[in-house]
Symmetry: C2
Subunit: 247 residues, 2 copies
């Protein structure tokens, strides 16, 4: 269903000037983008080589520059595409389980996050590199676009839990969000980086084992944030008794 008049298919926030690339056979477009993403994922931005990309694609170097203007332009294009792919599942998680108890929601965040990283390994690798490598071309601008979204969600998750009396009211939501994000980020990274796995086993084992381990991480964090039962400083309402919550 391609609408005839507006050829802008995607609702990209980054509008690149119309170029030859848009008129290409979509199949070829796909190949170009995929191979380029692969290169950036494997080598990072600076070590990625345009020569290598065109070599694998079997096209002339001039073509790539005609499409995207520069190496940075190519990277921008890839990022915009990836951003679209990231936003959808993130919104899906956000909306799906707003009624569930906090620990369950947190588990879901970990499991769904891990699933995304596993199903988009290249995007995830490039993202990691951008986070860690300070000299990516548009690092601050691009990263804030995706990180703000995730962090806002996590903060709201915590604040919602506090509002419902599930969580200790005296815990700093910023601190909690920070901690969750740190744990989540490392967990997803560890999935395909045994060196960072810390002997925990996120990079090995079958799907079920991994999910259990992710849940275990989420549970420790939940436990650290749950409303206290016998400790002194509550003062407010007693925590709602939570017999079974999840069926």
């Amino acid at each position: 269903m391609y609408p005839p008049s507006p050829r802008e298919a995607s609702a990209n926030t980054m509008h690149s000037p119309r170029s030859t690339f848009d008129n290409l056979d979509p199949h070829k477009q796909g190949r170009v983008l995929e191979e380029s993403l692969q290169e950036f994922a494997e080598h990072g931005y600076h070590q990625a080589s345009v020569n290598r990309i065109v070599g694998r694609l079997g096209i002339a170097k001039g073509s790539l520059f005609q499409y995207f203007g520069s190496k940075e332009g190519l990277f921008r294009h890839l990022f915009a595409r990836a951003l679209d792919e990231i936003k959808a599942p993130l919104k899906a998680i956000r909306d799906a389980d707003s009624g569930e108890p906090f620990p369950l929601r947190l588990r879901r965040v970990f499991v769904e996050g891990a699933a995304f990283a596993r199903s988009h390994p290249l995007i995830w690798r490039v993202y990691r590199r951008m986070v860690a490598q300070e000299d990516f071309p548009l690092r601050a601008l691009l990263l804030s676009q995706v990180r703000d979204e995730a962090l806002t969600y996590l903060r709201e998750l915590v604040e919602g839990g506090q509002a419902r009396g599930e969580l200790r009211p005296d815990a700093d939501p910023q601190a909690a969000a920070f901690l969750i994000e740190a744990a989540l980020d490392r967990a997803l990274t560890a999935q395909d980086a045994p060196l960072l796995d810390a002997g925990f086993g996120l990079s090995s084992g079958d799907e079920f084992q991994r999910q259990q381990r992710l849940a275990a991480l989420a549970d420790i964090l939940s436990q650290g944030l749950l409303a206290p039962v016998d400790i002194s400083s509550t003062g407010r309402h007693a925590p709602p008794h939570k017999g079974d919550a999840n069926a």
Copy 2:
């Protein structure tokens, strides 16, 4: 002519073949190492430029290669030096507070860790780059040397807490160590990387505020691991007993 008595000052685990560098005026040695470390910290391994290093030092390029043989050799040398500087304070923490209660020890880990990262910013930056960047020359070998040490300590910290009844006996020490390490790593990184600060404020504020925030992170983690009060809605097995632990 060889020096009459071997002046091997450092007990380096990596023994590089004797070279011109060892005979140099120690002051000059220091300048060379410092400036090189700076370059690697600023630009990472591949983007670091030997030309730039010798430029800043005001020495000929040939000299650097006479000293270290190659860019990689220079990096190895720097790493060996840094490793010595890391191990000492790490052992100091390990031995210092073995009698304190768990939450206090964990706080100390965060605060001391942050202090180290602040007092050795260049080493810390290079370390971060090595962790995140997969194509460092001896990444796996070099990293395992320092990470094993830290992780073993954290795991022992948790197991010790469990043995003394402070911590939930059913928490997986591996999971706990993983979580602590993830939080710690991100906290130290956030100190000088506002982009990763997640609005928490570790990269701003005075020394006292930062320490309080670090302690807050440690406390949430401690709370998540402390002996049970009431495990919640999650479907996991209930903790075996809950009677005594904390009064």
